[in-house]
Symmetry: C2
């Protein structure tokens, strides 16, 4: 029965029951987290063979003819390039291999635009203002990068197909200070949205006022499906941009962080040859070469796309029951109450939860008091400011499933309590 | 007999002999390099056990209590910090662990100063001009970083004790636009100088006009001795700066690039807690954590300072004969001719060679034509401009010793020829 149909007395009675449940949970001294998209231990175990894969008789001279144990091969080994080119369906010349995580690659890409500009345009550090579009809810670390560089963020709402493209087209075409847009096009963080073909095509066909406008396409979850039989595909942004006559308009990012080991993976950028060449030239000031031994480990451990896909299904088999457990509990406990909605993603690392307006901060803070760490309310919005104070990102991946259930129980109690308070206060 | 004492006819006769030797060398189709400070293959082999050191039963939870295979521990594992703290003789709180090479750490340190400033001072991007002092001859990649950020470089001459400290003190104390100085204090690149205690103390006691002046102390070769019995020590700059009341004035950099695998090592910064804290805070925007598995490999492979020292002596045993071969050939062929001088380093990766004025470019270019790649003449000076056109950096480490001898023979012929041309033209 919907809370809003209940009388004040019924609600108060319910609140008092829930409060004692909450106090009971609190007394358990829980210390659980649904805050960050971290793989759980058994997912890490999947890649253990990779750590021993290099043997004394491993050939260290790859196709480049260089000893992978020594300096050189700035843009990445040919073998690592092929791995990512196959994964992202682009040519070898469109791939740049980077360090152990794509976040640093994204930061550095923005940093270089700030210091030197993009393909001959004015460095952003010399401009009065630079603006980025940020589809919301989105990934907090993208927003933090923007804040660090003083980039003004403009929120763009999303629906089930991706960002509001009418708004994106209008803003991008009229404002030359808009230099970029952050996108997580597949299993978006946090709402699990998969951009539709139409959305991708409209992205590729943008007519930006700024010549140095780029789409920052963070394809972090491109092969991170939860199901064997439901694996939506998105259009290839690099080739779509090419077809639309905008070959240089996109930087695509990805990594093996959530394929093998977070923080000890290999990251890569896909982009036009012009963008790659420019990036490599600037990168040559910063480093001599990234860790080629780690590149070697990865291509030895996942030598084919088939091996990669099979490996990802092992991740899915660990992740899926957790997502389903959370979704089941939410449905059972909150379904029909009219106080919340949530996404049912087919991949990625998050469930996006929307409480009643004005309740998210309260819920997260109550969870914290009971020993359950959630991502900060508001974190999914630029400047940490969710105007409705309703979005909460749930990350079910890290805790073992029994702990996850415990955490979820507390979360549900907090949602109910905050909602009742809200309804009673209206 | 000194060339300058020879008659023109004698010189011409000698030149004609040398020219036919040169042509003979040229006809051999050599393809050798004495250009970069790269370890040779057998040095890489020394660290092969490290690549297999992580086993299925390795404990991945370190002192930090975090699984090293997952996200987290931004500033580096406790174990890796201890490794570098011991190596550089500083406290754990003075250490920050970085990625796979110190060049990126140095670039990023400059980059953060450019974007955000240092400890509250104005970001360099907003200043009309920023200047750095560059002891010469020096490391070309330091200079390239300065050029990238538009930093004006001022050359400071060096003697056997280090940079000209009268000049450094005078410039630093009067010009607030001077924000830094690059130093390779031990076995300096390329001249192998070890800074004297007095020089280090005068560095620590500098009274810079700029509050954000920092000493960029690239201690790349701190344990890279060539000899067992001659291992000069330098004073600890971090503690000297502290003693002198300038605790925040230095960033010290180092890495395991030339200890284990170049480009696949672990790098670190030593500095005051204030500098470290600021760097970590800014770094949190750029990355979640560096490669902790590689940190783990390193501390398992080199668990004690004793193990580290023994390991470095194996490098020395490979490097020393090469340095001695080159020095012997230079002495035998060029000694007493009055046309060149060179350093006799006790460690590091380079021999610094000075030809007669105006001959370095010619020598390097003749070497190239005969298939011997040397570091570009001038590269050891800011803007690639050696005002005397005399300094050439010799890197004996990479080629096997028989190839090194061949390369050196050609080099010597080129030095003689260019010198004769020079003398004849006066």
């Amino acid at each position: 029965m919907s809370y809003k149909m209940m009388t004040k007395d019924e609600l108060k009675r319910l609140r008092s029951e829930l409060l004692s449940e909450y106090e009971e949970k609190k007394s358990q001294g829980l210390d659980l987290s649904m805050a960050r998209g971290k793989p759980e231990t058994s997912q890490l175990d999947l890649s253990m063979p990779m750590l021993e894969i290099i043997k004394p008789d491993t050939p260290f001279k790859g196709e480049d003819g260089m000893d992978m144990r020594n300096y050189g091969v700035l843009s990445g080994t040919a073998e690592a390039k092929r791995f990512f080119a196959d994964m992202l369906d682009v040519s070898l010349e469109n791939i740049l291999i980077y360090g152990s995580a794509s976040l640093a690659l994204m930061y550095d890409t923005i940093s270089r635009a700030y210091i030197k500009g993009i393909c001959g345009s004015e460095p952003w550090s010399r401009l009065e203002k630079v603006k980025f579009l940020c589809p919301v809810p989105g990934y907090d670390r993208h927003f933090t990068i923007c804040e660090f560089f003083g980039i003004e963020m403009i929120s763009v709402p999303m629906d089930d197909n991706g960002p509001d493209m009418d708004m994106v087209e209008r803003l991008v075409s009229c404002d030359p200070l808009i230099k970029g847009i952050w996108c997580v096009p597949k299993y978006s963080n946090p709402n699990g949205i998969v951009y539709s073909d139409e959305v991708v095509r409209r992205f590729a066909a943008l007519k930006p006022a700024a010549e140095d406008f780029r789409i920052y396409w963070d394809n972090a979850y491109c092969i991170h499906h939860l199901y064997r039989d439901r694996q939506p595909e998105i259009l290839n942004i690099v080739s779509e941009c090419e077809k639309a006559g905008n070959p240089d308009m996109v930087y695509e990012f990805c990594s093996t962080s959530k394929i093998t080991f977070p923080g000890s993976g290999v990251s890569a950028m896909a982009a036009s040859k012009r963008n790659i060449d420019e990036t490599v030239a600037m990168m040559s000031v910063q480093t001599i070469s990234h860790d080629k031994l780690n590149q070697l480990r990865h291509v030895m451990f996942l030598p084919t796309q088939k091996a990669l896909k099979e490996h990802m299904m092992k991740h899915a088999d660990i992740m899926r029951p957790k997502f389903e457990a959370v979704l089941e509990m939410l449905e059972k406990e909150l379904g029909g109450l009219g106080i919340a909605s949530w996404t049912k993603p087919l991949g990625g690392y998050f469930i996006s939860f929307d409480s009643m307006e004005g309740c998210a901060k309260k819920i997260v803070s109550m969870c914290k008091d009971a020993g359950i760490v959630m991502t900060d309310a508001g974190a999914t919005y630029p400047y940490g400011n969710d105007p409705k104070d309703s979005n909460i990102r749930i990350a079910p991946s890290f805790p073992p499933i029994d702990e996850l259930r415990k955490a979820c129980e507390v979360f549900i109690i907090c949602v109910k309590l905050a909602s009742i308070e809200k309804i009673l206060s209206i």
